[in-house]
Symmetry: C2
Amino acid sequence: MNREEKLTRIYEAALRVFARYGYRRTRVEDIADELGMTKGNLYLYVKDKRDLYEKAVSHGLLQWQAMVARSIEKIDDVCEQFLALCRKGYTYLSRDVSLRSVLINDPSIFPLSSREDQFAEINRASMDLLRKVLARGIREGRFREVDVDHLTELLYSIYVMFIIKTYVKSEGKSTQKMFEQGLDVVLQGLLKK
Amino acid sequence: MNREEKLTRIYEAALRVFARYGYRRTRVEDIADELGMTKGNLYLYVKDKRDLYEKAVSHGLLQWQAMVARSIEKIDDVCEQFLALCRKGYTYLSRDVSLRSVLINDPSIFPLSSREDQFAEINRASMDLLRKVLARGIREGRFREVDVDHLTELLYSIYVMFIIKTYVKSEGKSTQKMFEQGLDVVLQGLLKK
DNA sequence: GAAAAAATGAACATGATGTTCACTACATCA
DNA sequence: TGATGTAGTGAACATCATGTTCATTTTTTC
């Protein structure tokens, strides 16, 4: 594994942990643990904690943006893509939550209001994306009809699934499995019999 | 407000915060903040952090046990009671998760294996409770039929709702609202048309 | 097997946090 | 109003946790 791949692995792990605990409550050792390496080793790849945070966020942001863009391009199977995103375990939506709480709790540490806006933006875009999927599904008769309120609630339910994926310690694959199945249930509840 | 009521308020707040961050990652100041008081004041009511943790857990445990018992007694509207529990924001199920992670992460700090067992027990009991509700609903024709797997997944979905309630910072009442609505959607998805 | 690269874990400095306490604000009653 | 007790504050302190470094060891490469 070359240095760049390793950096990717590090950024993704860091993002997961930062999302789980927020900036202040994650120790760099937590991230090292997540990676199965030691702090000292980690410091061969990153300058300091803040730097790691910034890089990890930027890295994740780019990937997420690319995925959203890809999905929107090909709206027909966007539903499957959305599911695939979940399965792949991307936690960018949830990061918005913890990011915001971090920013609110410690505005002095990271005055990243512009970046917070970015996340809010992406968050909204993702919601819109899902909204489109559902609207189209209903229009085409694949989904049962739901009123706007229920639609919103359902969006939130799925949103919740994303978030929980971040916060629940998954020991082994069982949590992942349940997560996927739970999502399927929600979506299946939508489908017409 | 007399001393006892104040202690109850303190224990409940502490439980919420401990559930949110786990023992090690919560500062006593976090709990003071949640209560809108200062650390110094808090220390007029509790001996130390560990004591607060133990008392809060015991307190919550008793309440939760009482509720489960009450629900089981009156199985007919157990569904509503279960929902009411959610609405009231009890987070004991989720506490199991963070408790366990605390215990796994810091077995030296709290060798509370017996208490962990207690939580696992209550957790299981709650799951069984919900399982009974669903089984009865299907038997009586109120719920649509779902196979055992889907049943399990659905249980998990609802379980997820509980957990998220703990971890998502609810600013204002909107999160609470969405939480309730999300739960309704899941349950409504179960109902026969 | 030597040289380079990667990884370790102990050491250190500094900042965070649990705990205390002298002091203030507030309520209650004469 | 003033005296007295109760509740609350916030600064101070000691200790512990954690970010960061680095000499040393282990692994990889040729």
